[in-house]
């Protein structure tokens, strides 16, 4: 009897040990995916219990949803109630009458204006009418037939961020052609917001991906977070790299939002100077280190900085990158030639070992 008991006990101890070892071996990694901002939001949290990670991640998603409703460029909250940005755009088009906006929107507009000036107007969130004319202010795009004269008229109306004046949360526009579309800014802003929130909640390790723009907090266990960079023409990663704590990565590409007409690709990134979609570039990727607290943060820069570089012609891309302080840069042109700065080349692990690329200074 005693022997049998001891046998059972031994068995139980070993059994528990194995389950314990298994539980220990299971990574404390929480992963969630949701559809917000008309795109995929993917959150990984490492080192928290599943329950806490779920709560935190849900809070982040709720904040995103809130921001999305506030900033939506074309969808009203309900039938009669436009988003805060929608209301502002309506006011701009009607008169120069000042409009009171939330402190959040006022600070975003000031920040976006500064970045627009810094990029010599190539990052221009005021060209909502152009984006709309090309059919990209819709959840799904179809082939759009453009009337060149109307595009030229929109370009000539010259909407710029500097047309708007922001003071004590009061905003007005000197140009009725201004229509704000924060599509190239809001996701980056949301990344910084989420990173701030998770820091406040003492989360040590997380990776947040909003529609391809990613920011890292801490690392994945004992390794840095690793991200893949999408190949613009194949369903695979062209390269991977480690994303250190506080760094962000963003890509502007012609392969996510576009339509084809007569074998030509019309993507959602529009050159404000010509009014036409950019056709010389497939993708521009920027990698952003942590920024000084008073400057635009890494998330915002990862979203904004790739656009002017995407829009600018090949010979001027490096110049505009330098203007924006971007050192880690990859450009893939329409002929699939790859250009990488020396800084970024050292960090990339190519999917295809025989890849050919040119090094930018």
């Amino acid at each position: 009897m005693r022997k049998r008991f001891s046998t059972l006990l031994l068995l139980a101890v070993f059994g528990i040990a194995i389950f314990g070892l298994n539980a220990y071996n299971k990574e404390p990694l929480y992963h969630s995916q949701s559809y917000i901002f008309g795109t995929l939001v993917d959150i990984s949290i490492y080192g928290e219990t599943d329950d806490r990670a779920r709560l935190l991640s849900n809070q982040v998603l709720q904040d995103f949803q809130h921001l999305h409703k506030q900033l939506h460029a074309w969808k009203p909250i309900t039938n009669n109630q436009p988003s805060e940005l929608g209301k502002l755009n309506l006011a701009f088009s009607q008169s120069k009458k000042p409009v009171k906006v939330s402190p959040l929107l006022a600070s975003m507009l000031a920040d976006a204006t500064a970045l627009s000036v810094k990029s010599h107007g190539l990052f221009n969130p005021a060209i909502g009418h152009l984006i709309s004319a090309w059919g990209f202010q819709r959840d799904e795009f179809s082939v759009v037939y453009i009337d060149n004269a109307s595009i030229q008229a929109l370009v000539k109306s010259n909407p710029r961020m500097t047309d708007i004046t922001i003071e004590n949360n009061i905003v007005y526009s000197n140009n009725p052609a201004v229509k704000l579309d924060l599509g190239g800014y809001a996701k980056g802003y949301a990344l910084d917001m989420a990173a701030d929130y998770l820091h406040q909640q003492q989360v040590k390790n997380a990776l947040i991906n909003i529609g391809g723009n990613i920011i890292a907090i801490g690392q994945h266990g004992d390794k840095p977070w690793r991200v893949g960079i999408q190949h613009p023409r194949q369903p695979t990663a062209i390269a991977t790299l480690d994303l250190p704590d506080g760094w962000a990565i963003g890509t502007s590409g012609d392969y996510q939002r576009y339509f084809m007409r007569n074998g030509k690709r019309y993507c959602h990134i529009i050159d404000p100077r010509s009014g036409y979609p950019v056709q010389h570039t497939q993708a521009v990727t920027v990698l952003i280190p942590p920024q000084a607290p008073t400057d635009p943060q890494a998330g915002v820069l990862s979203d904004v900085a790739s656009k002017p570089i995407f829009i600018e012609t090949a010979e001027n891309k490096s110049k505009v990158a330098a203007m924006l302080g971007i050192k880690n840069l990859m450009v893939i042109d329409q002929e699939s030639n790859i250009f990488v700065t020396r800084d970024l080349a050292q960090k990339l692990h190519w999917g295809d070992k025989n890849v050919k690329f040119a090094t930018l200074p």
């Binding site: 059994g15 991906n209 391809g212 690793r226 991200v227 960079i229 695979t236 990663a237 996510q256």
Partner: protein
């Protein structure tokens, strides 16, 4: 001998210490193998996500069409010999279908309008998240 098989009590009494160790250790080995081989994904699989939940995970070692009901309508995921793809989708732009076959672990195809995503899963993930 037949007696021993009929009633278990004498069987246990007849076991020597070596037998006991052997039995326990074989049970342990089985438990261990079960846990390592069963819970880890050795074979390549495709994970289908619908909205914010994992809809299903299928082995790639089969030929099969899987209908998935998304927010817009029914998409068909085609699995064949280690590959998977969107075969049909109700979305307008058909980016997901044009992505074609996914063949390597870590590759993914997303249909934003219909809120369905496919991801190939292998032994280890080549990266934590994808920049696009």
């Amino acid at each position: 001998m037949l007696n021993l098989l009929r009633s278990p009590k004498p069987l246990i009494q007849h076991l020597l210490i070596g037998d006991r160790i052997l039995i326990i250790s074989s049970i342990l080995v089985i438990l261990y193998l079960f846990h390592t081989l069963w819970s880890n994904e050795q074979a390549a699989k495709v994970q289908i996500r619908l909205g914010d939940t994992v809809y299903a995970t299928y082995s790639l070692n089969q030929q099969r069409d899987i209908p998935v009901h998304g927010t817009m309508g029914t998409a068909v995921i085609h699995i064949a010999q280690g590959k998977a793809r969107f075969a049909k989708s109700p979305c307008r732009n058909q980016y997901c279908v044009h992505q074609g076959w996914l063949t390597h672990a870590g590759q993914a195809a997303i249909c934003l309008p219909n809120q369905i995503s496919l991801e190939l899963i292998g032994d280890s993930k080549p990266y934590d998240s994808l920049n696009y």
